[in-house]
């Protein structure tokens, strides 16, 4: 449990410090596509590097561009276990790292009434009484693991400090047990919506990827993949309209997920072209604020 790869060198070996899911950038793009995740060059390159260099990957970007999906796709293609830590305001060590099972410790002490203090103390701080939380679980696994730390920006600043040891050395220190080092490095992916600034210390330990709205060509392919029944030309003009709406200064720009929702809606309605009536009725699918809908209708000069 405390052996593990020493890390630092990033040689050419398939597993030299990295997680070893991929062999090249092209391979990364191909296999991601096979799981239904169409990646741009930048995404494929960065994921490949995170895998090869064994560094955590910090993915930032607007909501609904597929940050969490990326982690799921990597887990699926690597046949890896996905460990997910969902961050929220007030999350702490006991929820993220580990916790001692107090109830069980008390039971153990009551059960062994006659033994000496030294023996009891040695016993109750053992593996058996440790409740592992996501971070420790990901570190201790023997099988390939993808650790997803979701919405990092929602957690308090103090939690970031907690993560530093895990992210730079892939180890967790439990005072009573010693340091537990990963025997097999997990593929770590952090996501953030940038609602708050993450600390420099955390950013420095990660590779950075800004996941933005895809370009028209890629988005069209995504729509075609997710909504196969939709007519080609309709998909193309739908993507163009969404692209134009993103260029407006809206309160909430439509995300990829909303593009797909819109495509599904149009398919369900049986529309074959984008005309005024259809768009006016379905604009609510992609825009979630009344102001935005008004502005978009003006832009598209809907009657």
């Amino acid at each position: 449990m405390t052996s593990g790869s020493s890390g630092a060198n990033s040689g050419g070996g398939a597993n030299g410090g990295g997680t070893g899911f991929f062999t090249s950038v092209a391979d990364t793009a191909e296999r991601l596509a096979a799981t239904g995740y169409l990646a741009s060059t930048a995404v494929a390159t960065t994921v490949f590097l995170a895998d090869r260099l064994g560094k955590p990957l910090l993915v930032e970007g607007p909501a609904g561009v597929g940050k969490t999906e990326l982690a799921k796709a990597v887990a699926e293609l690597g046949a890896a276990r996905l460990v997910r830590l969902q961050c929220y305001e007030g999350i702490d060590e006991a929820r993220a790292l580990y916790e001692w099972n107090h109830a069980k410790q008390l039971l153990r002490i009551t059960a062994g009434r006659d033994e000496g203090w030294d023996q009891a103390r040695g016993d109750i701080f053992g593996e058996e009484f440790l409740l592992t939380r996501p971070l420790l679980t990901a570190i201790r696994g023997e099988e390939p693991t993808v650790l997803l730390i979701d919405e990092m920006d929602k957690a308090d600043v103090e939690v970031e400090a907690l993560l530093l040891e895990v992210l730079s050395d892939f180890q967790v220190t439990v005072p009573e047990l010693g340091t537990i080092t990963a025997s097999r490095r997990p593929f770590v992916l952090l996501t953030s919506n940038a609602t708050r600034e993450l600390s420099e210390a955390l950013r420095r330990r990660c590779l950075f990827l800004h996941l933005d709205y895809p370009d028209a060509e890629l988005e069209r392919r995504i729509v075609r993949l997710k909504v196969p029944g939709l007519d080609d030309t309709l998909a193309a003009s739908l993507v163009r309209v969404v692209g134009a709406l993103r260029a407006l200064e809206l309160r909430k720009a439509p995300s990829v997920a909303e593009t797909i929702d819109w495509a599904r809606t149009l398919l369900a309605l049986g529309a074959d072209t984008l005309d005024d009536a259809v768009v006016r009725d379905t604009l609510g699918v992609i825009l979630k604020h009344q102001d935005d809908i008004r502005k978009a209708a003006q832009k598209l000069t809907l009657a």
Binding site: S10, V25, S40, T41, A42, T45, T46, L49, A50, R52, L53, K55, L57, E60, V157, A194, T195, R196, E197, E200, R203, R204, L207, F208, L209, H210, D212, D215, A236, S237, L238, R240, V241, G243, A244, A247, E249, T273, L274, D275, D276, V279, D291, K295, K299, L300, T301
Partner: protein
């Protein structure tokens, strides 16, 4: 350009021998633009190049960005610098060299009205490439255009020649192709709703082409003058370091896009300060009284409690032409942070003062036109249109002083250029006497305060004056100065 592997003909990258030098050069250039990159990141970047190899330029770009960048705002600076230190090729682009455009015989641009066959031919091909959204053809055309039209100062003294994107684009005038491309595309396409956004799309493509030409010209100049110098001078700064007074229309638009991210960032910092402040200091009197119960040993310290009152903010902004961009940006920023304050009121002036809080609230929907609407709808000018700080401050002190109270923090925004009128510091003193704090944010360099018609020293005697030349500095000041 995006995603296509380098064409075999063009050397995608320099020889490995000087890769390390190029990488450190790139890192130095980025540091010069205010990016904080440590040696550890540089080593990571080198490891990235080691893993990826030097065969695919777009992969190298993505890989280095992942290792060196920390936020999306740094991306434009990175892209431009990357193109300089890892150029696509050397000299005339290979594709252009193979079939060179006819170089004009006389270097003088043809006068208006005379036929210019080369220009017409390039415009023809550009129109086709833009209509088809063919990136490869556009990149090639950018090379040709710079080659044909961008050269200046040939054969003169060394250092006086170069390549100019401005000259090349002026001759080509790609904007004037819009109507033509639109007409051509409309003819072949059926009427569809998405055609209504066509004009915007074409405009975006033309803008992209312009930046291709700029990048190409920068690359050619960098060969003459050295990449370091060009990276320092010719690469546009990140949005938060754009000088308020020197910003053009596009840069102001770019600044406005950073309003909300910056507001969020500042809100986090203010909240952190507030949390720390809420713990308060030890209340000695109450601690001593409590310690009586434990025989004089202060076991349970008592803290001074703070009232959780958020400060009120009053903005007093010069909206005259010279500093409008600064006032505009600051008002939007403060408005976006309004939940951090119990009340925000904004006043604008040129030589008379009027309240614009409502205009600001409505202006959120259309921030680009906020400044124009303030000038049109609020009574900020008297009989003339020149700034007069003295009478504007007097106006505020006479008519709006009830907006200022003991919990109010007043921010005065302006360059204090008073057109040689009476500065009237007495009015500012009256405001300062009522307010909790008054800060003056001046978008000019401190070295210029007091020169010409600037009344900055007179006001700096009365209230704290800080220089605030770009968004980064504004963020620092707001996070540090405002009471929480």
């Amino acid at each position: 350009m995006s995603g296509t592997p380098a064409t075999p003909g063009i050397p995608a990258a320099p020889a490995p021998a000087d890769t390390a030098a190029r990488l450190t050069g790139l890192v130095r250039a980025l540091r010069g633009h205010g990016l904080r990159i440590g040696p550890a990141e540089t080593v990571d970047a080198a490891a990235v190049l080691d893993v990826l190899g030097l065969t695919d330029r777009e992969q190298m770009r993505a890989g280095l960005a992942a290792a060196l960048l920390r936020s999306e705002g740094q991306r434009p600076v990175f892209d431009a610098s990357f193109d300089l230190f890892f150029p696509l090729g050397i000299g005339t682009p290979e594709a252009v060299r193979n079939s060179p455009p006819p170089v004009p015989d006389d270097p003088e641009p043809p006068r208006f009205g005379r036929p210019d066959p080369l220009r017409d031919q390039l415009r023809e091909r550009l129109a086709a490439a833009l209509a088809a959204d063919d990136r490869a053809a556009q990149a090639r055309l950018a090379g040709e255009v710079v080659e044909a039209f961008g050269r200046y100062g040939t054969g003169g003294t060394p250092g006086s020649d170069g390549w100019s994107a401005h000259q090349a684009l002026g001759r080509l005038a790609p904007e004037t192709l819009l109507a033509r491309i639109l007409a051509a595309l409309r003819q072949q396409g059926a009427d569809d709703l998405s055609d209504r956004v066509l004009a915007d799309e074409i405009r975006r493509r033309i803008r992209d082409f312009r930046s291709l030409v700029s990048g190409e010209a920068r690359r050619r100049v960098a060969e003459l003058r050295g990449a370091e110098r060009i990276a320092e001078r010719a690469v546009a700064p990140t949005a938060d370091r754009i000088d308020f007074l020197a910003a053009g229309r596009d840069q102001l638009a770019e600044l406005r896009r950073t309003v909300h991210p910056l507001a969020r960032k500042l809100a986090t910092r203010l909240a952190a300060r507030r949390r720390r402040a809420a713990r308060g200091r030890i209340d000695l009197r109450r601690t001593l009284r409590r310690s009586l119960g434990t025989g004089g040993v202060p076991l349970r310290p008592a803290y001074r409690l703070r009232r959780p009152a958020r400060p009120e903010l009053v903005l007093l902004c010069d909206v005259s032409g010279s500093v409008a961009g600064f006032a505009d940006f600051t008002m939007l920023l403060v408005r976006a942070m309004s939940e951090q304050f119990s009340k925000v009121r904004a006043f604008a002036f040129v030589n008379r003062t009027a309240e614009v809080t409502d205009l600001l609230r409505r202006g959120q929907d259309d921030p680009a036109r906020l400044a124009a609407r303030i000038l049109a709808e609020a009574e900020v000018m008297g009989y003339h249109g020149n700034s007069d700080y003295g009478s504007a401050l007097g106006d505020f002190a006479d008519h709006h002083l009830d907006a200022v109270g003991p919990r109010t923090c007043v921010l005065v925004l302006g360059d204090a250029r008073n057109n040689h009128r009476d500065p009237n510091p007495e009015a500012l003193r009256r405001i300062a006497a009522r307010a909790r704090r008054v800060f003056w944010l001046n978008p000019e360099h401190p070295g210029l305060w007091g020169t010409g018609d600037s009344a900055a020293p007179a006001y700096a005697d009365v209230v704290e004056m800080h220089d605030c030349r770009n968004a980064r500095r504004l963020g620092e000041l707001i996070a540090r100065l405002l009471p929480v």
